[in-house]
Amino acid sequence: MSETAKPLLSVNNIEVIYDHVILVLKGVSLEVPEGGVVALLGANGAGKTTTLKAISNLLHAERGEVTKGAIEFDGEQIEKLTPNALVKRGVIQVMEGRHCFEHLSVEENLLTGAYTRSGGRGAINRDLEMVYGYFPRLKERRKSLAGYTSGGEQQMTAIGRALMSRPKMILLDEPSMGLAPQLVEGIFETVKRLNTEEGVSFLLAEQNTNMALKFATYGYILENGRVVMDGDAETLGSNEDVKEFYLGLSAGGRKSYRDVKHYKRRKRWLA
C-alpha cells in the first residue's frame, strides 16, 4: 500500500508454528490502513484463520506461537499481549463458526462483549441500542438463547458482541460460512456501514472471494502459509488468475497458483 500515513495494523513477515513443530505461516506480511476493509483470501487450510489468530493472540490457547516477525497495531508491538489487553486496545476477533454463547440470551451475548470496558451502564446501553440499530433482528430475538437462533442471527450476534467492545478494528473470520447468499450480502453491507459510519477497520478472512472483493478496498491472497498476491480489490478481481482460481470463472476447474507458469509471484517478504 502506498498511503503515507502509518497503517493501523501491520504484520511483518510472521511465522507461526503449532505444537512446536507444525509450521503453518511461512512469512506473512500485510497491512490494514486506518478505516480500511482489507480482505484475506485463500482456499481451505491456506492460513487465513491462523493469521487472524496470530494478531488477536488466540493462537496461544491452541498451542500456536508466532516464532518470527512482528505485529504492530496503532504504533505498538502486540505479539506478546493477551487477548484481554488487545481487546482493550481495540482489536477484536469474530471467530470462524460464530461461537456464540449458546446458553446465554442474545442480549447477554452482546453484553459479554463489553466485559473489558470500564465505562458505566449508560454508555453500554447506548452501544446496545447502536448494535440493535444495525441489526434490528437481534432486538426482536434479544431474550432468546443464542443457541436457538438461526445461523444468520448468530453471525449478527457475534459481530454485535465484538462491536460492544468499541473496537478500532475487527478481525472477521468467514462471516459467509454456511449462510444463504442474500444473508451474506446483508452481513457484508452492514460491515461496510460499520466501516463508514462507525469508523471500524476490518480485516476480513473469506473463501467467498467474489463477495469479499466487492466490499473490500484491498486484498491479499494466501496460499500455503504465504502471501502469493496482493492488490486493490478491483485489480485483484479483474486479474485472470484470480478469476480462474478463486472466482470460478474458468472452465478448467480449480488449480493451484503453483501450476501457473506465467504467474509472477510477488514475494512481499523479500521486498
Binding site: A61, E62, I92, H103, Y148
Partner: protein, 297 residues
C-alpha cells in the same frame, strides 16, 4: 393401621434438610466443572480445610464473624494458588490430566490443613442447638432449619451473582465456550480464581453445617463421596440439578431407611443413594437436568 402421614412428613423434611447439604457439596463440583473443566476431586478436602480453619480460629478466641471472614480469605488465597500453580500450567491439557492434578491437590490440601492445624476432632458450635422444635405438630431439628435457611440464602446469592452481574455473566460465558470468551477479552485466569473462590465459599458453608453436626474431623472430607450420586442424578453441568438432586438423594435415603429398611434388615441409608443413582444412570445418563445440548438443524 392408618398410614402415619405426620411421621412420613417428618422423615421427608429431615431428609430434605440433610439433602440440602449434599446439594451444597455437589454445587461446588458443578461450578468448578463448568467453568474450568476440572472434575474436582479436592472438593471434599476444601470442605475440610474451611471447617478446620474456621473451628481452630474460633477455638483461639476469634468471634464467629472474624473466623468466617478469615476463612474466606484463606479460601480465596487457595483459589489463587490453584490458578497459578495448577490451572495455568495445565491449560489445554486433557480432562484426565486435570482430574489427576485435582487428586494431587486433594492430598496437598488435606495434608496442609492437618499439618497447619491438627487432626483431632473439634466440636463446632454456631449457637443454634440441634434440638427438635414443634412445627405444625411435627418435630424438626432447629439446627436443620437454620442450616437449610443458610443454604437457601447462599443459593439465592449465587443465582443473583451468576445471572445479574458482569463477572457472573462472564463466568457463564466461559462455561459455554471458553475460546469465544477469550476472544471477547474475558481473562480466563481471573474467572478461574473467581470460580474456585466461589467453590471455596460453598465449601465453607458446607463445612460449617457438617462440622456442627458431626464434629470437625478428617471424615468430613468424605462428604464429597455423597456428592457423586447427586451429580449423577442432577447432571454434572447443571446448577439446579445439583440442588434438586441433593434434595432427592437426601429425602430418598431417609425415607428408604425408615420405610423400606425394616423389611430388608435396615442400614440401607448408606448405599441407597448409589443404587438410586445407578438406576437413574440406566435411564437418563445425562442426569435430571443435564444441560441441554443445543442442536440446530
Amino acid at each position: 393401621m392408618a398410614f402415619d402421614w405426620l411421621f412420613f412428613l417428618e422423615v421427608l423434611i429431615a431428609g430434605l434438610l440433610s439433602g440440602a447439604m449434599y446439594s451444597l457439596v455437589a454445587l461446588g463440583f458443578v461450578l468448578i466443572f463448568k467453568a474450568s473443566g476440572v472434575f474436582n476431586f479436592a472438593q471434599g478436602a476444601m470442605v475440610l480445610l474451611a471447617a478446620l480453619t474456621f473451628v481452630r480460629l474460633v477455638e483461639m478466641g476469634a468471634p464467629l464473624w472474624l473466623a468466617g471472614v478469615s476463612t474466606l480469605m484463606v479460601m480465596v488465597v487457595l483459589a489463587m494458588l490453584v490458578e497459578r500453580l495448577v490451572l495455568r500450567q495445565l491449560v489445554n491439557q486433557a480432562p484426565i490430566i486435570l482430574f489427576m492434578a485435582s487428586i494431587g491437590l486433594n492430598f496437598f490440601i488435606e495434608g496442609t490443613a492437618q499439618g497447619v492445624w491438627d487432626s483431632d476432632v473439634h466440636a463446632l458450635d454456631l449457637g443454634v442447638p440441634d434440638l427438635p422444635i414443634d412445627v405444625f405438630g411435627m418435630l424438626i431439628s432447629q439446627f436443620d432449619i437454620f442450616a437449610a435457611a443458610m443454604v437457601a440464602a447462599l443459593v439465592v446469592v449465587l443465582a443473583v451473582f451468576f445471572q445479574k452481574t458482569r463477572i457472573g455473566r462472564a463466568l457463564r460465558a466461559v462455561a459455554d465456550d471458553h475460546q469465544a470468551a477469550l476472544s471477547v477479552g474475558i481473562p480466563l485466569q481471573t474467572i478461574w480464581v473467581v470460580v474456585w473462590s466461589v467453590a471455596g465459599v460453598v465449601a465453607l458453608v458446607a463445612g460449617l453445617v457438617w462440622g456442627s453436626k458431626l464434629g470437625v474431623q478428617f471424615s468430613i472430607s468424605l462428604v464429597a463421596l455423597k456428592a457423586l450420586p447427586v451429580l449423577i442424578l442432577g447432571g454434572f453441568t447443571s446448577v439446579p440439578g445439583a440442588i434438586i438432586g441433593g434434595l432427592i438423594i437426601g429425602a430418598g435415603e431417609k425415607l428408604a431407611e425408615v420405610f423400606i429398611g425394616p423389611f430388608v434388615g435396615g442400614a440401607i441409608e448408606s448405599w441407597f443413594p448409589y443404587m438410586l443413582a445407578m438406576v437413574f444412570l440406566l435411564f437418563r445418563p445425562q442426569g435430571l437436568f443435564g444441560e441441554k445440548i443445543i442442536e440446530r438443524v
